[in-house]
């Protein structure tokens, strides 16, 4: 996909996301927290976090006393996966906001994950597999180690190592991660664990030696792409996950050339299967899904970063580059 086409999609989808603010913003009322987190990630990468403090204050208001979040903003029970995603939004945004209330929210999240970790390093969520569930707190801790305060880093270091070891030990010899209970095909789990847990270690000064694991995961993802460019039976969510994972891992292990054709095919498939006039569906031909629409915008923003001359720009979109908050997109889009 050429950059002009990507920029055109980004502008149009961003305008749409703003137009349907009521459908995803906690400032408008109760929401599905997975959708809130997906939308806030777009807001961050569009360079709008600094002027969106009310969105993050609403996120903190929805945070439970234990430091987690429910799947729905009004649900009382915290869930690990969505809590990790919300915690990531807080720490990323606070790289820009530098706000004490947001920092307190990050601390509460850290405590939530430290309390919830099992002795073997995993986190559990009764609605999802343990490997994938574990990847998201590890991803949050990766970002804490890159962007957090020295005290925060000290707090999470040991739990982060245990979580990462649990993931590394769970990788199959073929490079994939499988969950027999929830996701036997392994596509989404492998895409998540590659980008959200393992490869970050290559960016962190104190990281574990994970390069062989990342290389095997990348090969697994490339080998499982369908000829049309999609993954997992034309599953839009999993295709977007695999695309993002390929962007990040290929940059971290300098395998861009090997991945270029696969990425081009994936992005063309994603573009060809948009809903019209805006958004993306869960599967081709279905109606628009707001969560997939946010994912689509996020993928394009990461692809745009991957194409920039600064090789670290795409890594900054995950927040894995220590001490540098410049992952915020410079270019502005007028709404």
């Amino acid at each position: 996909m050429d950059l002009e086409k990507a920029a055109s999609f980004i502008e149009s989808e961003w305008i749409f996301l703003n137009r349907v603010h009521k459908q995803w913003s906690l400032t408008e009322g109760p929401q599905d927290m997975e959708l809130v987190a997906h939308a806030l990630r777009c807001l961050l990468h569009m360079g709008k976090a600094g002027e969106s403090l009310p969105e993050y204050q609403a996120l903190i208001k929805a945070q439970h006393a234990d430091g987690g979040w429910g799947r729905e903003s009004e649900e009382k029970e915290s869930a690990a996966w969505v809590s990790a995603f919300c915690a990531l939004m807080l720490i990323w945004a606070n790289a820009v906001l530098q706000h004490s209330e947001v920092e307190k929210g990050v601390w509460k999240s850290i405590d939530y994950f430290l309390q919830g970790q099992k002795p073997d390093g995993r986190w559990v969520d009764n609605e999802w597999g343990d490997l994938d569930t574990t990847s998201h707190p590890v991803s949050f801790f990766n970002v804490v180690l890159a962007l957090g305060t020295p005290k925060m880093k000290e707090h999470v270091r040991s739990a982060w190592r245990k979580g990462l070891r649990f993931i590394l030990e769970g990788q199959s010899p073929d490079g994939g991660w499988y969950d027999q209970k929830f996701h036997p095909s392994g596509v989404e789990t492998t895409a998540h664990l590659g980008q959200d847990a393992v490869v970050a270690s290559l960016a962190l000064a104190e990281g574990l030696p994970v390069r062989p694991s990342a290389e095997k995961a990348l090969n697994w993802i490339l080998n499982h792409q369908a000829p049309d460019g999609s993954w997992d039976g034309q599953n839009m969510d999993h295709t977007m996950d695999c695309t993002r994972s390929t962007l990040l891992i290929s940059r971290m292990i300098r395998a861009e050339e090997r991945c270029r054709t696969a990425l081009d095919k994936a992005l063309e498939w994603i573009a060809a299967n948009k809903t019209q006039p805006h958004g993306w569906p869960d599967f081709p031909g279905e109606e628009l899904s707001m969560e997939r629409t946010c994912d689509g915008l996020d993928v394009l923003l990461k692809y745009q970063a991957w194409r920039q001359t600064d090789p670290l720009e795409v890594v900054r979109r995950w927040g894995y580059v220590p001490g540098n908050p410049t992952f915020i997109r410079g270019a502005e889009v007028q709404v």
Binding site: N126, E127, G129, K181, F182, P184, G233, N235, D282, F283
Partner: protein, 91 residues
């Protein structure tokens, strides 16, 4: 019946409800098309014997009973299917 081969699925409208119809080794099963978890389309799911796995988050439903095998407290409506004049009919 000829149009729906073994291992395939189809979404049909039954009184305004989306129903996923599956052919498993010549036997037909009908179940509500939307997963009880996050509304994923079961017609796009993976068949595992006489169960279908939701393509979004992996919930596995027994096509004979509608019971979710990894969240047993949850179930979906299933509908009896019979064959008449070469067509699948849902009661």
């Amino acid at each position: 019946m000829e149009e729906l081969k073994s291992g395939e699925s189809r979404v049909v409208d039954v009184d305004g409800q989306e129903v996923a119809l599956f052919n498993v080794d010549g036997a037909a099963y009908a179940i509500s098309n939307r997963c009880a978890h996050r509304g994923g389309p079961l017609s796009r799911g993976h068949l595992e014997g006489t169960a279908v796995r939701c393509p979004l988050h992996g919930w596995l439903f027994d096509l004979r009973t509608g019971i979710c095998l990894n969240q047993p407290e949850v179930s979906l409506p299933v509908y009896p299917v019979f064959c008449e004049d070469g067509k699948f009919c849902i009661k």
